[in-house]
């Protein structure tokens, strides 16, 4: 069981390397690097984090932090995740208006963004494989993916597919 200090350190790493969003990095650090949770366990907490309002990555960090080390663990995970990027952001904000339009900066940002998108996709694929969905669960997954790509608002997706997913889980494990 990780302590609050270990949670802070782990989520500091998540925050500081979390290009393109922190969820993919959170899985990498918590599952792959530290082995605190399995992919299936991480996916369950990600689902809860998505249903709660607010940033998914933060909700997920709160749930995982609280699970291992109570309220101090939750606070440690969230402050760890925000500390690095926030201080970096202050520096970036000052520089960006002056240099943001320079070609090399734009090129680097485009390169990182392409890599970050790939990382998110790889993470989703890995979670899908490891959580071993049955075919009705694959259907829910595909429906969420398709609806979101077609621009259906997230509120509707959660409202409709969330309960369907839960019903499916209920029918599979009586």
């Amino acid at each position: 069981m990780p302590t609050a200090a270990q949670l802070f350190a782990a989520y500091f790493q998540v925050g500081i390397s979390g290009f393109g969003g922190a969820n993919a990095w959170a899985r990498y650090v918590v599952v792959e690097k530290r082995g605190w949770l399995t992919d299936a366990e991480y996916a369950a907490r990600l689902g809860l984090g998505q249903v709660l309002p607010g940033p998914n990555a933060m909700n997920c960090a709160i749930i995982i932090g609280h699970e291992f080390a109570g309220v101090p663990g939750a606070i440690a995970a969230v402050t760890g995740m925000f500390a690095g990027p926030l201080s970096l952001l202050c520096g970036l904000a000052a520089l960006y208006d002056r240099y943001g339009e320079l070609q090399p900066v734009r090129g680097a940002l485009a390169g990182v963004a392409a890599g970050a998108a790939g990382m998110m996709l790889g993470t989703a694929l890995k979670l899908a494989r490891r959580s071993k969905p049955t075919w009705p669960m694959w259907a829910v997954l595909a429906a969420a993916l398709g609806a979101s790509l077609c621009g259906v608002s997230i509120g509707w997706i959660l409202l409709v597919l969330g309960p369907i997913g839960i019903l499916t889980a209920r029918m599979e494990r009586p």
């Binding site: 689902g47 607010g54 690095g84 680097a108 392409a114 790939g118 990382m119 997954l141």
Partner: protein, 178 residues
């Protein structure tokens, strides 16, 4: 200071409306910052959003950039607190409740049932971001797509840190676009 108060008061309610992540209230942020208060124009708003996407950390940190613009360093802290505070408290309450009912049958069902939707949504945001990222490569979209595909493969097939792929993408971006 008055501006920061107005920004925080505008962001705090969005915190609890942002179901599915911070980007779902992007339109509301735009209304607050560009249309209602005129703190910056459209292009400046979009640039900051793109930067927060590319910078490390949760994407919601874009509100920190808005805060900086409105009130400097203290604005970063104030805006982040306003946007994340209410959701933080709610999630903390939920986490505590969840542990009280740990192992309960219905809770396990809910957790298992939400997994496929969560993964589907994660894949969708990857493709959304991927589309924008590839478009940013202008006349060389195949390069952007190749970097994306390579990183996907590394994450899917190996346990290697993806940081090297991101760094490689940045270098290629500087060489080919810059």
């Amino acid at each position: 200071m008055k501006d920061l108060m107005a920004l925080m008061a505008g962001l705090a309610p969005l915190s609890l409306m942002a179901v599915g992540g911070g980007s779902t209230v992007l339109a509301d942020m735009h209304r607050l910052i560009v249309e209602q208060h005129g703190w910056m124009d459209d292009a400046a708003f979009a640039r900051r959003y793109a930067l927060a996407q590319a910078a490390p950390g949760p994407n919601i940190l874009v509100v920190g950039l808005f805060g900086w613009h409105v009130a400097g360093p203290i604005g970063v802290l104030g805006a982040t607190l306003a946007m994340c505070g209410p959701a933080f408290l709610l999630a903390l309450g939920f986490a505590a409740t969840r542990r009280r009912f740990e192992g309960a049958h219905w809770l396990r069902l809910i957790e298992r049932g939400l997994v496929p939707m969560a993964i589907g949504l994660a894949a969708a945001s990857a493709l959304h971001l991927g589309g924008a990222a590839v478009a940013a490569w202008g006349p060389r979209p195949l390069w952007g797509a190749a970097i994306m595909a390579a990183t996907t493969a590394v994450v899917f097939f190996t346990k290697r840190s993806p940081l090297w792929m991101l760094a490689g993408g940045a270098v290629l971006g500087v060489l080919l676009i810059g």
